[in-house]
Every structure is written in C-alpha cells, then in structure tokens.
Symmetry: C2
Subunit: 427 residues, 2 copies
C-alpha cells in the first residue's frame, strides 16, 4: 500500500474539519484507494487552539513543514496572501505537491506559484478554493475536458447568496440580513471581501482560466457587490419574474474572454435562480454538450475539507508515479474583450422626487443615449423618494454609464443615486 | 507528444458524433493535453452508412479491431449486449483499454468485463454510459472520492423525462407524449427499455456501485416505469405541490444498499423537480458535504460523444504511464436491504364507481393494513371512473401491496386498477 505523508499548515475552520475527516476516513481511503494517508506534521500560528483537534505535536513554525524531508504533500489552510504565499512557495520550491483552499492567494499570486510548481515538477491542487464541496475543478479539468466552453457563470459566494435569500424570504433589508449572516458565522466581521464581490471575483478568475485556457487576471475584472441593493429591488425583480443573484460570469467574445462579477436579475425558471441560502452553483454552456450545472454547499468546515481530502486522494494517487502527466496551470493572458460585447439589459431603480415630469426627463436622457425602455413600474408612494423601476433593452456599458451619470446629476428630480442591476444574458 | 491510436467500433448516432468531435477538437487536444489522438481503424456492421462520416476505410469485421497491434484504445459504440460483449471482452483480453457508452452491457455483464480488465491490467471507461454529457462517473470517482454517500438519486432517462414534461406542459396523455418523443427521435420504436425504467435501472445500478462501493446487480432492483401514468396523475400531483419524475434511487440502509427505479412525486421546490425535458440530473447527499446535484443533457450525439472523448483524454493521458493506478470496478455484492427500510409515502389514485360509501371502504382497508391517510381529494366527475386521490403517511412496501391487492379486488367499488406513486423521501 502506498504511504503518503502529509504536512498540514493551518488549523482553522477547514483545517480542523480536515483533521476530523482524516481520522474518520483513513481506513476507508486505505480500502478504496490503496492509499495510507499519514499526517506527520502540523503547524499553525496559534498552536494552542489547534491542540483541541489533534494529539500530534503542533509547531508554530509554518515554514519548517515545507522543508521537512519526511513530508510528501503540504496542505495550506491558513488563508491570506502573505504567510500563505511564503508557505506555498517554499513547499513548491522544495519539491512538495501542495493542496490549498486559498482562492485569494491563487487569484492574486497564482502566476508565480504555478510557475514554481511547473519548474519543480510538482502539483498545486485547489479543488477546495472554489465552491467548497462542488468538485468543479476536476469537472473542468477531466469531466468536461473535451468541451469548448461558451460561457461559465456561477453563484460562487455563499455569504451573499445567503443574504439575498434572507432579504427575499424574510423581507429583511440588507443590513439585517448581513447581521444574521454574521451571527451564524457565514460572514466575517469585515464582510467587504464577500459583499463587494471580491471573493466571487477571485473564484471566477480561477474557473475561467480552466474553462477557457486563457487567463483573465483578477485586476482586469469588473467587480460589483450587493451592498447597494435594497428590499425594494428584490421585490420589484421578483414581480418582474426575476431573482437577484450575485454572479461571476465569464464568456467567450469575438475579442477575448469577458469576465465580471455583478448582481444579476436571473429569470425565475433558470436553474441558477433556484440555488438558495449558502449553496453555490456553476452553470455552463459548451458547444458540444449544451447547458449544464453543478450545485452543492459552497462553504463550511466539512464540505470544504472534503474537497481538500478529494484533492489529497487524487494527487497522492499520482505521487511517485513515473511519467505521470503533471497538470499545468499556466495559461496565456486573454485579450481584452471589446467594450461593445459587454452589453446587457438593465434593471434601473431611480429614486426620485415626487413631482410631475420626472419620468419624461429620465426617458429623455435614456433615449438620447440609445437606451430603449422595455417596461416601467412606478408604485404609489406616500413619501419620497418615489421609486421608478425601468427595464431596458440591451445597452452597452458606455451608453449606460453616461446616462446614469447624467441622470444622477439632475438634482431637480433625483433624490438618491440610481441603482442598476444587469439582467442575465440569454443563457 | 504522446500518440494514442484509437479503434472505433460502431458508427451510429454517438459514433458519428465522436468522429465529428475528433475532427474538430484534435488540434485543441494536442495543445491542451499534449496528446495526439489518432483514429486508425473503424468497424461497424453497416459500413456503407458509416462512409458518410469518415474518409478512413470502414471494415465490417468488428472483432478484428480488438486484436490489431496498432490500436491502443478501443471505443465500443455499437450497443446491445451480444456483439458488444464479444468486442469489449476480446479487446480487454488483448490488452486494450476500452471506452464504452453501453450501460446495458455493463449493468448486465459488467462483472465478467471488469474482471477481465483487472486481470489484463487495462481499464474500462464508461463516462458516456450514464447521463450523457454529465461527468458523473469522474465526479463520483475523483471529485467526491472523500465522501461517504447516504443517498444518490437521479433523473437518468431523458426519454421519460421528456414525456413527463410534455404531459404536464401540453396537457397530453401518455401515448401522445410518447409519440412526440418518437417523432423527435428521443424514443425508440419499441420504447420498453426507456418507459419501463429498465434503462434507468441499468444506470442507477452502475452509479450506485461507484458511490457505495457495493454492487446491487440489476436483477435485484425493483423497477417500475411510467406507462401507467395518466394526465390526471400529473395534474393532481401538481395541485398537491409535487411533480412526477422517474427516479433511480439508491440509498444506504441499516441492512444493505436499497436500489430501485420508480415514478416519484418530487416536491416542486426540490432541485430535481425543475429538471425538465430531455435533461438528466444526479442528486446526492453525503455525510461530509451534504446535498449536491449535477445536471445536463443526458443524451444526443454530441453530448454523449463529448463524454466518450473526455474518457479518451483521461485514459489516454494515463496510457503507458508506469505504476499508474488502475481503477478497479469490482465491488462486493451488497447485502439485501431489509424490507422495512423500503417504506414510503404514497400517492394513490383509486378509479372507482360513482356510488356512496366508496371512500369508507377504501379507508377501512388502508386502516386495517396500518396505512394512515394524510389527505384525500375527490373531484366531481360526470362519468365513471371517479378518481379518488389519497396521499398516505409512510407505509412499508408489504402493507402497501396487501392493501392495493385487496382494494383492486373489490369489484363492487373499483373500476380500474389502482395507480400508486411513491413520494420522494426526505432528501
């Protein structure tokens, strides 16, 4: 039986979950995979806390794990992009295969790490970095390896999906839903990464490179979060037949790959519309197989640890195999997609003063900028602002921005900044 | 670059799709996977027809392909369980890795074939045999390899899902929907395999063995199809908050693995309820990661061929690699699940005469057999039979059968055989 020696760095939520699974499933893995996965070293910056989960000695020297000759595979679960970078880079340089759940690290510093892995001839597994328990990395690499992707989009952040679900189901406003998510441990005290779409951006940039084999660096992404959304947007969208989801979207255009994150009005009968609470999902269309979707728990100790363990089993099975194909994560940079390909239909909520002629003024500006109105809703209100909800036909990003800037400056009619949400394109 | 030489046996719907994909994607596969996939031999029982799809010579000697020294991997796409068995068995015996889309063959004669593959040290890939383009085999093998399954169930037959969708959406009866499916090429002239649940049974028995690592032979499955369903069942279910789907279900019980195929009332808000038309889906629950689902096109030339090609890329990448782990598809036979674990809630449609006291008689028999009624619906009817729709609380298979047999014999009140559909258990 093949013996694989693991060094674990980081014993937080996911790390402690992994310790639990290794304990519970070690015999099963022996039997099924002919692999004996042995944990030989653990390091964390707070060893005291880790001792609750393991009887092994716990070191606070996270780098030392990466150089030990008795470690075959290093699992990095400390998070962040500083110490984690040093750990992963050192491990790769010292010929260790590395498994990580760290999307921020890979999205921001992946270039250097993947190059190092390739140079040393080792591998860097990151199934757990995107969409928790959903095996989307192996699905893109192996299951759909024969397919030419047209589009890939997904609900990649469980926190924001939970918040949006609660805003709808409980009729809560954004801050109440955020607080609930924080109370339940779904959201951090500083929720910026999640609610502003940064986390989803890291993830879609990783997935996109695997699907299209071209890289769209995180810095090139257009990223918008959900913090501007109000109850009224959730309700108005629903009455129009849509549900708002924070989507990471990546699609092939005639120029390059267009990748972005923004709240999106998804038709209620679309599979993505029915992915609720902390669940994640990835929806795709390929030339060969048409549409498909995978969904499952996107976060949590055991779901994420199960993805780490699946990676461990996969790479450990290849470990030491002669002539084994090493997965190469180095992709050429995509050309920039042309502006005109970034067109969308828009949901626009204008918050206006309660006076005559407001709609005419708004319509005039939209018309002047080539934006055609598909529908208008204005509900009777007993206090200002009055909300005017407009669905537009397809408009380019440029025309849209110009219109909104112009309208938001019309202080004679506009009371609060306009909220704009794109509709899901024809997927 | 690694060169892999392919022998293709069978050029029907999927075979011609594969020829198309190999042509279109050969350069992409070279670039992405460092593999040159070369088609070197083709055989089919009807060579004339195949010539439309290829400029290579086409032989009618399907066995000869399996012994050629210049063929590394044999792709079997002729279907059926006789000639196909000879082809696959001969190829495996001659040290060829085999890729097949043939679920009937593997479900009925897999034991012998998987043993032969293991004996010769080659592999038998069958991603395309279940759920077309959905990469469920690799998902179970690799993506979820760390998980302990509790249940796996799915919509595994596109024809019946199409028929059920049309019965609901167009308000057609079963035979009209079947005819439409046949006209569109989704159903065979003899639709028995599909509509009686046999095809779904083959597929769930294959998936079940991968998920639970125990084998439930097809012969041990309880299999029920959709041919008894009427429009009224579709409509009544919907008014009760359910949609009828033909599910293959496999679950862990305290005894063994319980595996079965039957029409099932799925709550409308369950992800499986929203998989429509010819789409397939597999829903699962594991101890580690909770619930998840994959969905996509379950049939069709290119979707299925894309799965064959994904298998080709996967096994070709491993081909000739020293010490490579060979996947072993030989699983111990599962114990038989205990009868009492096969309990379900039931939807019962009694077709009765229009006279007083009918409901009382039915209720009496159900009560005597420990079956408790959850709800009753009886619509006013202007002609017989009168349909009485009963939802029960959970009942064992034995109690249920006894009741229905007894009731169906009461010719003083019953006009047609009772239709019974199980409700989706708490998934």
């Amino acid at each position: 039986m093949k013996q694989i020696r693991i060094g674990l760095v980081g014993v937080g939520t996911v790390g402690s979950g992994l310790l639990q699974l290794l304990e519970k499933n070690r015999e099963i893995i022996k039997e099924r995979n002919n692999l004996d996965v042995q944990l030989v070293a653990i390091a964390t910056r707070t060893p005291e806390r880790a001792k609750a989960y393991t009887s092994l000695p716990v070191s606070n020297d996270v780098i030392s794990i990466t150089t030990r000759p008795d470690v075959d595979i290093v699992v990095e679960l400390i998070g962040g992009t500083t110490t984690a970078f040093d750990v992963v880079h050192s491990a790769l340089r010292h010929g260790k295969t590395v498994i990580t759940a760290n999307k921020a690290l890979l999205s921001e510093k992946g270039d250097e790490l993947f190059s190092q892995a390739w140079k040393t001839g080792v591998e860097l597994g990151f199934e757990a970095a995107v969409a928790g328990s959903i095996p989307i990395i192996r699905t893109l690499r192996d299951g759909l390896s024969s397919c030419e992707f047209e589009v890939l989009c997904g609900i990649l952040n469980g926190t924001t999906n939970f918040i949006l679900t609660k805003m709808e189901e409980e009729n809560w406003d954004y801050s109440a839903a955020l607080k609930k998510a924080q109370d339940l441990g779904f959201a951090e005290t500083d929720p910026t990464f999640d609610v502003e779409g940064i986390d989803a951006g890291h993830k879609i940039s990783l997935l996109s490179s695997l699907a299209f084999r071209e890289k769209v660096p995180f810095g090139d992404l257009q990223v918008e979060g959900i913090s501007k959304l109000k109850s009224i947007d959730i309700l108005s969208s629903k009455s129009l037949g849509y549900r708002i989801k924070l989507l990471g979207i990546s699609k092939k255009t005639s120029g390059g790959i267009l990748t972005k994150v923004h709240p999106t009005l998804v038709p209620l009968n679309h599979p993505l519309a029915n992915v609720m609470n902390e669940f994640n999902a990835v929806y795709y269309k390929t030339v060969e197989s048409g549409a498909g979707m995978v969904t499952g728990k996107g976060a949590g100790a055991l779901p994420t640890a199960s993805a780490v363990l699946a990676d461990l089993i996969f790479y450990a099975s290849k470990f030491g195999v002669k002539d084994s194909i090493i997965e190469n994560n180095i992709f050429p940079k995509s050309e920039k997609a042309e502006e005109k390909e970034n067109a969308a239909r828009y949901y626009l909520r204008f918050s206006t003063l309660d006076k005559p002629g407001v709609l005419a003024e708004i319509a005039k500006v939209l018309g002047k900028n080539n934006i055609s109105i598909a529908s208008v809703q204005q509900k009777e209100a007993d206090k200002e602002p009055v909300h005017v909800i407009v669905l537009t036909h397809s408009a380019t990003e440029g025309d849209f921005k110009k219109s909104i800037e112009e309208i938001d400056e019309m202080s004679s009619i506009i009371k609060e900044k306009t909220v704009a949400i794109r509709l899901l394109e024809n997927l």
